[in-house]
């Protein structure tokens, strides 16, 4: 039984004039138990929308979303979600933000704090425990969100560009942390990113979404050996080969998306 | 000012095991309700062996409603409410009548002097009353009707008393209006208005209304009166004694007894002057005047929609039993 299964899902948004806008269309996707799946695609193609369907935040207009074989009916606390936009609680200190999950899941106050401190250390925020989110830099807030979600060790982990505000180095460190965690608890991961190298370095499978109403254009199994060292893997020849394949698929979509919205075809490289 | 505070706090000290009665008065500082506070200042409640808790209340029907709801036992207000209540199936009665004439004055704006000489000229005018549905409302309509003018041809406007009344005159919002002392003196003193009808004297009132018109009285629910005859008697004793005391003293002496803040706004001389001009309104005995209730019924029966067409047993609206049996307290 697959951990995550999307069966021909379509998501439409109603428009004011009574029409609809189709964000994703007939998208099918399967993520096995313990599989790390990266999703790439042009901006605005429906990646975030796909994640909201899996998490139960939105319902498909058509088709079905299943998690562990059960249709998604609402929010499931076995699912972790790192949002693309800020979603940390502005009225809680960094520590309390990260400790929220364990507390909600019934851990004692002190146990939760201990865990939270540990996670803050892992994301490199020791010493900022007492800050409020508005006192952090963009990258720091993103890391708080990461720790907040990872601390719960969810069985299904959805991440929407989690490393986008981080510098290369921190990003590499976070990736290594993420892979370690994933190795320990083996959740099913859907990881949305714009960084193809990152996608290939981390994932078992890379899914390319088409422009326009998003649907799956191609899936690539990444058979690079594990454990991987994120900083080094990109220099392997196998990596380069895969990279080029995926890039080919992606490039066409991005060009298509851009051409469409500029109506100037020659601009798209 | 301190004598007021001092006297009040000492007199409100509860006498041991004396019954306590709460009375709501429809405008305590108006001179027409003067006996209620005067009795307190004279210490007559205490001497009569009753604790009285006076609550002030602005004009209107609320005092009566509160009495019926059991929130207060007695109301210091116009006798005619008893008639209105009977019309609605509630029974209450006046146990002592303090004013045999209304003490109201119909004032008219000075610039209308000569143009308005009697209620017969009210046609088309705007007339001030304290509040819709109040006794001044019915009295005004009665006077208008009696002078042969259809009340519907006038506009009646609730303007309250005091500043608002005088302002209404100055702003020409009303041509004439019915009010009591000390508003009357205030309006006269700066020549805002002149007196059209003076119901502060027995003669004036008879001429205007065609009979006595019992106004201020203490009324209570009949049922309560019957079950607390002792207490009622004590109260009535206090009031009859007060009424007697008023007859034996000059306006200045009376004013001396009243709390200073009662004349703070208009000044003591004006207050005394007002009292002088209307001392005659006070009922020397406390007995209900013979023809009074009839006049009231005539007024209400015509203009109060709730009384119109109802048959009223006037004898149930008052009793002289307690006044007749009253013994002076001092």
């Amino acid at each position: 039984m697959a951990a995550i299964e999307l069966r021909n899902v379509t998501k439409k948004f109603a428009t004011a004039d009574g029409g609809t806008y189709t964000a994703i269309k007939d998208l099918s996707l399967t993520v096995e138990e313990g599989q790390f799946c990266a999703v790439v695609g042009p901006t605005g193609c429906g990646k975030s929308t796909t994640l909201t369907l899996v998490s139960g935040l939105e319902r498909p207009s058509r088709g079905e979303a299943l998690v562990h074989g059960e249709p998604v009916r609402g929010i499931d606390i076995e699912t972790g979600f790192v949002f693309q936009q800020d979603a940390v609680f502005p009225w809680r200190s960094v520590l309390d933000n990260v400790a929220a999950g364990p507390v909600y899941r019934g851990a004692g106050r002190s146990e939760a704090t201990r865990l939270a401190r540990d996670w803050l250390r892992r994301v490199g925020l020791s010493g900022f425990e007492d800050r409020y989110p508005h006192q952090l830099s963009g990258g720091m807030r993103k890391r708080v969100a990461l720790a907040q979600s990872l601390i719960n060790q969810p069985r299904v982990l959805l991440m929407d560009e989690p490393f986008s505000a981080l510098d290369v180095q921190t990003r590499a460190i976070m990736s290594t942390e993420l892979l370690q965690l994933w190795d320990q608890t083996k959740p099913a991961v859907v990881f949305v990113t714009h960084d193809l190298e990152e996608a290939i370095a981390l994932a078992d499978k890379v899914v390319v979404i088409t422009a326009g109403p998003g649907t799956v254009k191609a899936e690539f199994e990444i058979d690079l050996p594990r454990p991987r060292v994120v900083q080094e893997i990109r220099f392997q020849p196998a990596f380069t080969r895969i990279y080029e394949q995926v890039w080919e698929a992606l490039r066409a979509e991005v060009a298509e998306a851009y051409a469409r919205t500029t109506r100037v075809a020659e601009l798209a490289s | 000012a301190n004598n007021a505070a001092g006297v009040q706090s000492s007199s409100s000290k509860p006498a041991a095991n004396a019954p306590t009665v709460t009375i709501m008065v429809g405008g305590m500082s108006k001179q027409i309700y003067l006996p209620f506070m005067l009795a307190k200042e004279l210490g007559y409640y205490e001497k009569a062996g009753v604790n009285v808790n006076l609550i002030d209340e602005p004009a209107g029907g609320d005092a009566t409603q509160n009495m019926l709801a059991g929130q207060v036992q007695g109301v210091g207000g116009f006798y005619d409410h008893n008639i209105a209540l009977q019309a609605q199936g509630k029974s209450s009665e006046a146990v002592v009548s303090m004013l045999q004439i209304p003490g109201e004055v119909e004032l008219c704006r000075s610039d209308l002097k000569g143009k308005v000489t009697s209620p017969a000229d009210f046609k088309g005018l705007s007339l001030g009353i304290t509040d819709t549905g109040s006794s001044t409302d019915f009295l005004t309509q009665y006077l208008t009707k009696k002078a042969g003018v259809d009340p519907a041809a006038t506009t009646r406007r609730g303007v309250g008393a005091g500043q608002t009344f005088i302002a209404a005159m100055k702003q020409k919002a009303i041509a004439c209006g019915m009010t009591t002392e000390p508003t009357v003196s205030q309006a006269l003193s700066d020549k805002t208005a002149f007196i059209l009808l003076d119901m502060r004297t027995a003669a004036g009132s008879k001429a205007a209304l065609g009979g006595t018109y019992p106004a201020t009285s203490l009324y209570m629910q009949t049922e309560w009166v019957n079950s607390h005859k002792d207490t009622v008697q004590k109260l009535v004793n206090a009031y009859v004694s007060t009424l007697t005391w008023i007859q034996g003293h000059t306006p200045a002496e009376i004013a001396d007894k009243m709390p200073a803040d009662y004349y703070k706004g208009v000044g003591k001389p004006a207050y005394i002057h007002a009292l002088t001009s209307e001392k005659g309104i006070f009922n020397p005995t406390g007995l209900m005047p013979e023809d009074g209730p009839k006049t009231c019924l005539a007024v209400l029966g015509e203009f109060n929609p709730k009384v119109q067409g109802k048959s009223i047993d006037l004898t149930k609206t008052y009793t002289n039993e307690f006044v007749s049996a009253a013994t002076p307290v001092s």
């Binding site: 004039d17 929010i75 469409r260 109506r263 | 409603q65 709801a69 509040d131 506009t155």
Partner: protein, 301 residues
Amino acid sequence: MTDLHTPVTPSAHPAPLGTPPDEVQPAEAKSGMAAARRRRVVMAGLRVGIVAVLLVTWQLCVNAKLVDPFFWGEPSGVWASLRDWVTIGTPQGSLGDQILVTLEEAVLGFAVGSVLGVVCGIALGRVRLLAELFGPFLKAANSIPRIILGSIFTVAFGFGIQSKVILAVVLVFFGVFFNAFQGAREVDRNLIANARLLGASRWRVTRDVVLPSAFTWILASLHISFGFALIGALVGEILGANRGLGLLIRSSQNNFDMNGVLAGMVLVAVIALTAEALITLLERRLLRWRPPQTHGGAAVE
């Protein structure tokens, strides 16, 4: 109160070019709208049901002599009063006239009061000096009982429509003012900074950033303010008038006619609800740009 009937489906805008036309007309969207309509009807039915149950219980209590209609009125009496007013007219003239008089006062007071409130609120919210200077005065003024103000206003402005309107203005003003003030201060700093950098003058920032962003606050206060304007008009009438619903209520009260008092209140409530519906319409128009609110997003709950 915003939009108790948020449509279930979030609103969006015309599909951009390049999106293939939708061959299948979205049956779901339609059925969603139908469901919303059905829900609305059910809700209205439930509300009517609640009212009916209350009224019947009340009437039964009166009939069983558990409740004294002298103090509390009775539904049949209220109905009779209303019928009389409509068919025969009120003691002060036709019912329509009374309603119109009160409505005129309330609408004027509402308009003036809310405009003043918004202008002052935004001004004080934007200009710190003003807020520091006048804030305490406004707060102190807010604690003055309006009845007393009412009688001062009648002395100052006479017994015409003016004093009632001013009373309504005063009642409306404070609620709107304090919300507009707070709304102006809640504006995202980044948005103001952005507008300034884009070249907006302080006035444009106020108009284009502070005002729209304070709009939720202002609208929230407008929802209650029409009720306040009505109260102002009614109280003004009670304190000195010869027409209007307030006088109708007051004279019923003075005649110990509880049913009349309640009938007057029913009329007032109907007016308030109508006005509220209009404000909600306005709100929907003005806040089109917002993502659907939490109530709507059933899934999130």
